[in-house]
């Protein structure tokens, strides 16, 4: 993904978008159609996908289309994203009151070197953050947060 490589990131992204675009274009053939509708609901996505395809091909051909250099991806950032995805999948089962303090504690520790002080302050963030959000949304706005195994 480095900018000076023989396969620059604009070209990579062009290939990815072309593949995804082709899949989505194929899907538009399964949209419902009506005789009275002159263009149909597949028309607009096809225009967009065709446009994206043309620009993606141009990116593949040109290789590099801007002056800026790509910045390096860091695994630490993807771990945060992974934690978010895990939260989404576990929320319904474990519920807000079990999962949120755990997630906040883990995220707080992830942002600083592990030490006894970090663990104590992480515990504070977990309890305070969960309580604050609960107070604002469940008390203040009558939002029922997922209870999970707590019923």
């Amino acid at each position: 993904m480095r900018d000076g490589s023989s396969f620059p990131f604009d070209r990579w992204l062009g290939v990815v978008l072309l593949v995804i675009g082709a899949g989505l274009f194929y899907d538009t053939f399964f949209f419902r159609t009506f005789d009275w509708d002159p263009v149909g609901m597949a028309f607009w996505p096809r225009v967009l996908l065709a446009t994206m395809g043309v620009v993606a091909i141009w990116h593949i051909v040109k290789g590099r289309v801007g002056a800026e250099v790509a910045e390096r991806f860091t695994p630490r950032a993807f771990v945060v994203f992974g934690g978010g995805v895990a939260y989404v999948f576990l929320l319904d089962t474990l519920g807000f009151f079990i999962l949120t303090p755990v997630a906040l504690f883990g995220y707080s520790l992830w942002l600083r070197p592990v030490s006894m002080r970090a663990i104590v302050s992480g515990g504070f963030v977990a309890v305070f953050g969960t309580g604050l959000v609960y107070a604002i949304f469940e008390y203040g706005m009558d939002v029922i947060l997922p209870r999970g195994i707590l019923g």
């Binding site: 992204l13 263009v39 996505p45 978010g84 995220y107 600083r112 939002v143």
Partner: protein, 501 residues
């Protein structure tokens, strides 16, 4: 479009309700705090608060959002002056002279002048909003499907023009945004598409989860790349923060020019406070008798930058309220706030809900007064927020994002959408693909599709786009902006080739 004084007075009375004033003060303080913390900004603050305003009457909720917007846009200069890190990108130009002033021991003067400049910039743009928005809305009432299609096309091509040397990157992100808006029920037929058999997908991806993901989650992913380091300390203590009478009177024309530049740039889709501040800064330098002082602590530079970036608020609201086209990501989120309260931005808003509009006008004026008072009285206390460790602040902010997004529809799916857009935003930003065009695509995509398809259904051809004088004007402007983008790109090509060897 007639003006009914009784509605204006009712809106004023509503804004002056004690609870509303409390919300305005809290909103401004909250916005300032978020604006001061580098990496956060008004877009995140407004997006986070939209779910909170859901239970409020529209006038009160929107007043709160406007207050947060004004506070968030205003707070960014504090860290730009004191520690050379702009709290928001809109204050990038402020550090060019604000930080050198602080190095010379004039941090108080820089901050005082920036506060007044923020106030005057907001007021100039608010006057423009009150004056021009009804005129533009009255004009927009003549719009039919063809005119709306042409306006949306123009807004989209403006994206290609302002993304400069990499116009196609902006174009691609705009198309991705429009494609994301295609998921779910179509605006014309009311039938699902791209749902892949998942019932949750039929409801669409949602504007707010997408925006919070793009701007908040991606920022938190970026911030988590390194473990906490030490926060830079201010280079000098703040002396008196009251600006001198000489600085203020000597910059009267600078205020006016920068305010008008900021308002105009705010009207242009997808530009926002950063470019406005840089353009106003460059104009102030050109107009100065001592341009060599710029970059070394010229107060005119601070004034130009801060007046212009706050003036984009009113400019952005002009086009957002009258045509439903966001001037910047924060305006896009505000439009989402309007829609959540069942209000449709556009000329009909001026006819059907004038009380909400007048409420927005008054909130903008009052918020700017409150912002100035709060900053003069408590900037020394507010600045301490930059010392709150990230490992306290960010987990709480992300919890607010998660539950805020969930509370919109009580759907866990929306949280997943938020994280997915967070990943997308993080990857695209790392590759220097701009995000504002994607926001524009998400907001304008359904509008463009609906009007384009209705035009085709009604007229059976594309001819109305060139037969209507208004539509033709916007089509010509669209072509012109594309040509401009192509010229910019051609100019920058030698530079790219040189860099890549």
């Amino acid at each position: 479009m007639s003006i009914d004084p009784s509605i204006i007075l009712a809106a004023l009375a509503n804004v002056l309700q004690p609870w509303n004033i409390v919300f305005l003060v809290l909103g401004v303080i909250g916005g300032l705090l978020v604006g001061i913390v580098p990496g956060l900004g008004p877009t995140l603050a407004v997006a986070l608060l939209i779910p909170v305003t859901y239970a409020m009457p529209p006038e009160v909720g929107l007043s709160l959002l406007i207050a947060v917007y004004v506070g968030g846009m205003s707070g960014g200069f504090v860290t730009a002056v004191l520690i050379r890190i702009p709290g928001t990108p809109a204050s990038m130009a402020t550090l060019l002279d604000g930080f050198p002033m602080a190095q010379k021991g004039q941090a108080g003067a820089a901050i005082g002048n920036a506060i007044v400049a923020n106030f005057i910039g907001t007021i100039i743009s608010a006057i423009c909003l009150v004056t021009f928005a009804p005129l533009l809305a009255a004009f927009a009432l003549k719009f039919s499907f063809a005119e709306y299609t042409a306006v949306c096309l123009f807004a989209m091509t403006a994206v290609a023009a302002i993304t400069g040397s990499s116009a196609s990157r902006g174009f691609i992100t705009a198309v991705i945004g429009m494609l994301a808006a295609c998921v779910g029920l179509t605006p014309v037929d009311g039938l699902p598409r791209f749902d892949f058999g998942f019932s949750d997908m039929e409801g669409g991806l949602g504007l707010l989860p997408a925006l919070i993901g793009l701007f908040a989650v991606s920022q938190m992913m970026k911030d988590s790349e390194r473990q906490t380091g030490s926060t830079p300390r201010p280079v000098s203590a703040m002396s008196s923060i009251l600006p001198s009478f000489r600085d203020m009177t000597g910059n009267a024309f600078n205020y006016l020019r920068s305010g008008l530049i900021g308002t105009w740039v705010g009207v242009m889709p997808a530009m926002g406070g950063g470019p406005a501040a840089l353009i106003a800064y460059a104009q102030a330098r050109n107009a100065s008798k001592t341009p060599e002082r710029f970059g070394h602590g010229a107060v005119e530079g601070v004034i130009a930058s801060e007046t212009a970036n706050n003036a984009t608020i009113g400019g952005g609201l002009i086009i957002a309220l009258t045509l439903g086209i966001p001037g910047d990501p924060t305006s896009a989120v505000l439009l989402g706030g309007l829609m959540i309260h069942g209000l449709q931005p556009g000329p009909q808003l001026f006819l059907n809900n004038p009380e909400v509009l007048y409420g927005i006008y008054f909130s903008l004026f009052f918020s700017s007064f409150i912002m100035m008072l709060v900053l003069f009285l408590s900037v020394r206390a507010l600045v301490k927020v930059i010392y709150i460790p990230r490992f306290w602040l960010q987990p709480i902010l992300i919890a607010m994002c998660v539950v805020g997004v969930y509370s919109l529809n009580n759907r866990i799916f929306d949280i997943g959408v938020m994280f997915a857009f967070g990943l997308l935003g993080y990857v695209l930003e790392r590759l220097h693909y701009p995000l504002p065009p994607m926001v524009l695509g998400i907001v304008l995509g359904p509008l463009l599709e609906a009007n384009f398809r209705k035009m085709l259904a009604a007229e059976g051809s594309l001819l109305p786009l060139v037969e209507s004088p208004i539509a033709l004007t916007f089509v010509v402007l669209s072509v012109a902006s594309l040509v401009w983008a192509a010229r910019l790109r051609r100019k920058s090509l030698p530079e790219i080739s040189e860099k890549s060897g």
